[in-house]
């Protein structure tokens, strides 16, 4: 399925952008409207591509899930996926990644009054995590490494996992920091929850594209470099993490992390395995 | 033995039995005739309370059927009944059909029930078929098993609801033969049938019903067939039609 994506979109005048419906970096407002930090960045990339191919491009949004995003990219249904896909070596065998544009830190959310402050406090506790995410694996590794005894409760999606925490079925929710922050900000009483503990994992998040399509990848990376250089990305960060966001106009309140800053300062597509957790 | 006093029954607004009264003595063979929908089946089903009725009284061997306190299953176990469509239990063998109610209802031991059931099976000439399923028998054979099943409960009276009308013409005879035999042995019987030959031969009385559930005639067989002039016009018309061809 490797091919010349640039030629293809030039011919058709259409780009299919893979987007997420509910993640920290991209979500839907219903009625086919998709927004979020990575979604908007992806739109910017496509605008830059218009210059590359020399004609206006229509964006077709294709919502993807963590189950189907890789096959959809490889089978040609999606040209560029800008959601919240972790760049790791296993996936690099299937697809290529653009420069890392966001570095996720896996953390825990707990009830503010729970007294839980680190992984060490989890003995005998219920830990919520979302099915189909890398956090499950992270947790499994931690469990064995630290020899702590806790029960995993798997939510079917992030909202479900957070509900487990809210209703007391789980004591903590282990997940990407941006997702934790977003869920807390939208909850009934955001003050009841806080993000606690050490960083359990660091994951580079990047846009995903078909393998072996060097020209297309270069064009995408060119646009990302441009967005970093002229401050577009920082403005986007402000808009989606520090200011009120639709639809409920809540503020997520997630400051730009050192890890992400480092990735922007030195654009690269290193996989997760190349990051070391301190 | 059986007494009906002013029995009336309605389905919703429709009256299907209209003030029916009659008495059946021990050893009598009463034939019930009448056009389709006249309530013949309903009438005999009220006797063992398979159909509830709204007005009147029925006494069977001194037991009040109309009394809500009566133990109906017990009453029914003493009244044998044979249906138009045989209604053998298709998932049970002939032997099981004959014994299940004896065992579960009368509390007989398996071996007693078996001996008893096979006695009647022999009586209807079907001992050789005891291990077959109903679906493997012809209609006439099934109906004879149904009669044996009813008999093996040692009923005090037998009710028949058109026992031959679902049979091939060639098989009608074998079932009627069994019924004639029963009548001659003195069994009390109430038979809904269109077989006027049978009525003439062994019937002691004929009850003729008309649509609306009214008993139009209730007289001895000789009177019924012997004096057509004494009959109601509706009865004459009916007899004319079914004896015509």
């Amino acid at each position: 399925q490797s091919g010349d994506t640039l030629a293809k979109i030039k011919n058709s005048g259409e780009v299919t952008l893979g987007v997420r419906e509910s993640s920290g970096l991209g979500y839907t407002l219903g009625n086919g409207v998709y927004v979020g930090f990575h979604t908007e960045m992806g739109e910017n990339i496509i605008k830059d591509l218009e210059k590359t191919v020399g004609r206006p491009l229509k964006i077709k949004y294709q919502p993807v899930t963590s189950q189907n995003r890789i096959p959809l990219v490889t089978n040609g249904s999606v040209d560029l996926e800008c959601g919240s896909t972790t760049n790791n070596t296993a996936r690099q065998r299937e697809v290529d990644f653009a420069y890392t544009t966001y570095v996720e830190e896996v953390r825990m959310a707990a009830k503010a009054n729970s007294g839980i402050a680190s992984v060490a406090d989890l003995n005998g506790k219920n830990v919520a995590v979302t099915t189909g995410t890398t956090s499950v694996q992270t947790l499994r590794r931690n469990k064995r490494a630290e020899n702590i005894n806790f029960r995993e409760v798997m939510g079917k999606d992030h909202a479900d996992s957070f509900l487990l925490l809210e209703t007391g079925r789980a004591d903590v929710f282990v997940m990407d920091g941006s997702i934790l922050a977003a869920n807390i900000s939208k909850s009934r009483n955001p003050a009841d929850f806080k993000i606690v503990g050490e960083v359990l994992n660091v994951e580079p998040i990047a846009c995903m594209l078909r393998k072996n399509d060097g020209a297309f990848k270069a064009a995408v990376n060119e646009s990302i470099k441009r967005q970093i250089a002229d401050g577009t990305l920082e403005v986007l960060w402000d808009k989606w993490f520090l200011k009120p966001t639709p639809p409920a106009n809540t503020v997520i309140g997630l400051p730009l992390s050192e890890a992400t800053k480092a990735a922007w300062a030195n654009p690269n597509d290193k996989p997760m395995e190349a990051y070391v957790i301190d | 033995m059986i007494e009906l006093k002013n029995v009336s029954k309605w389905y919703g607004q429709v009256q299907v039995l209209n003030n029916c009264s009659t008495r059946i003595e021990k050893g009598e063979v009463v034939v019930v005739a009448g056009p389709s929908g006249s309530g013949k089946s309903t009438l005999i089903k009220t006797i063992n309370a398979l159909e509830p009725f709204q007005k009147g009284e029925i006494w069977v061997d001194g037991v009040p059927v109309h009394d809500p306190k009566t133990n109906l299953p017990k009453l029914r176990s003493r009244v044998g009944m044979v249906f138009q469509h045989f209604e053998l239990f298709p998932h049970l063998t002939v032997t099981e059909n004959l014994t299940i109610a004896q065992i579960k209802v009368l509390g007989r031991s398996k071996s007693d029930a078996l001996a008893h059931g096979l006695k009647y099976l022999e009586r209807v000439g079907l001992l050789a078929h005891k291990d077959k399923f109903p679906g493997q028998l012809s209609g006439g054979q099934q109906q004879r098993v149904a009669i044996a099943r009813a008999l093996s409960m040692d009923p005090i009276v037998m009710l028949f609801d058109e026992p031959t009308s679902a049979l091939d013409p060639e098989m009608v005879g074998e079932v009627l033969d069994v019924m004639v035999g029963l009548a001659n042995e003195g069994m009390t019987m109430m038979v809904v049938t269109h077989e006027m030959g049978f009525a003439r031969k062994v019937g002691s009385r004929v009850i003729f019903m008309d649509v609306g559930g009214k008993i139009l005639e209730d007289c001895s067989t000789e009177e019924f067939f012997g004096h057509p002039d004494g009959r109601q016009p509706r009865t004459k018309e009916f007899l004319h039609k079914i004896l015509q061809h």
Binding site: T131, M154, T167 | M81, H85, H91, V105, F133, A150
Partner: protein, 250 residues
């Protein structure tokens, strides 16, 4: 499309390939995991099926009992409620909403809840089948049972139900296969069954197509086995000289 099945032999933690594909002393390979997930799928489905058969039969019978308006209405309500709300939504209600009103449910593990939810959901459909099975019998069968002196319980037990169940074996077979397929909703309440395995393993291994293929095959195999078992039951209970359900002309 390039296939790669080797990941099944990989350990789920450090991703190294295990000799023989089955993990030893504490190692768990993806193959081990998938087989245990299949075990959960089968457990959920079988328990829910048993529950559904019992409850569905009771409700179906209630709806055919002579002269009991209350129970008939109760049965109708049961069927309408449990068949008119999607299973996934029902699971959510059992897991998150009902415990807010019935605190004991809070303590029940997801496994029990999903068996209840799937069992009741399926019971509504089985109830309809049992009812139609009973109603498909000629009215005379009921009369014949009564006329022999059977009590209501007895003629249901000895006369009506044995034939009714035989008649409904074909739709019951479909429903049993459905239970296996529908058991996939158990992932929503944290039961580590096949669908959850598929969602998680494809994320970790990036071999989605292979994972789905294996899981689909296991679902088909499960459905096929239950289909064969039901066919065997159908064959063993077939009444000689009687074609259940078929009313042929002359």
């Amino acid at each position: 499309m390039n296939w790669d099945w080797q990941f099944f032999c990989q350990d789920t933690l450090d991703m190294h390939v295990v000799q023989g594909c089955f993990g030893k002393d504490g190692e768990i390979t993806y193959l081990d995991w998938m087989l245990s997930a299949w075990g959960w799928t089968v457990s959920v489905a079988l328990l829910a099926l048993v529950l559904a058969l019992v409850v569905g039969s009771v409700i179906g019978i209630l709806r055919t009992l002579p002269g009991s308006r209350f129970w008939a209405t109760f049965g109708t309500t049961w069927v309408e409620v449990f068949r008119n709300i999607p299973l996934l939504v029902q699971i959510f209600l059992w897991y998150h909403v009902l415990p807010a009103f019935i605190p004991v449910l809070q303590g029940l593990p997801g496994f029990v809840l999903v068996v209840l939810a799937l069992g009741f959901f399926t019971s509504a459909r089985i109830a309809e089948q049992v009812r139609s099975g009973i109603e498909a019998l000629p009215r005379g069968q009921r009369y014949a049972g009564m006329a022999l002196g059977f009590t209501t319980a007895q003629y249901y037990r000895y006369v009506l139900l044995p034939m009714a169940y035989r008649i409904i074996i074909p739709p019951l077979t479909s429903e049993s296969m459905n239970v296996f397929k529908n058991s996939s909703v158990a992932f929503a309440v944290s039961v580590a069954e096949l669908t959850m395995f598929a969602m998680q393993a494809q994320e970790e291994t990036a071999r989605g197509v292979e994972v789905y293929l294996a899981v689909t095959a296991l679902y088909i195999l499960s459905a096929f086995v239950i289909n064969r078992i039901m066919a065997l039951i159908e064959k063993r209970t077939r009444v000689p000289g009687f074609i259940a359900g078929a009313s042929g002309g002359h």
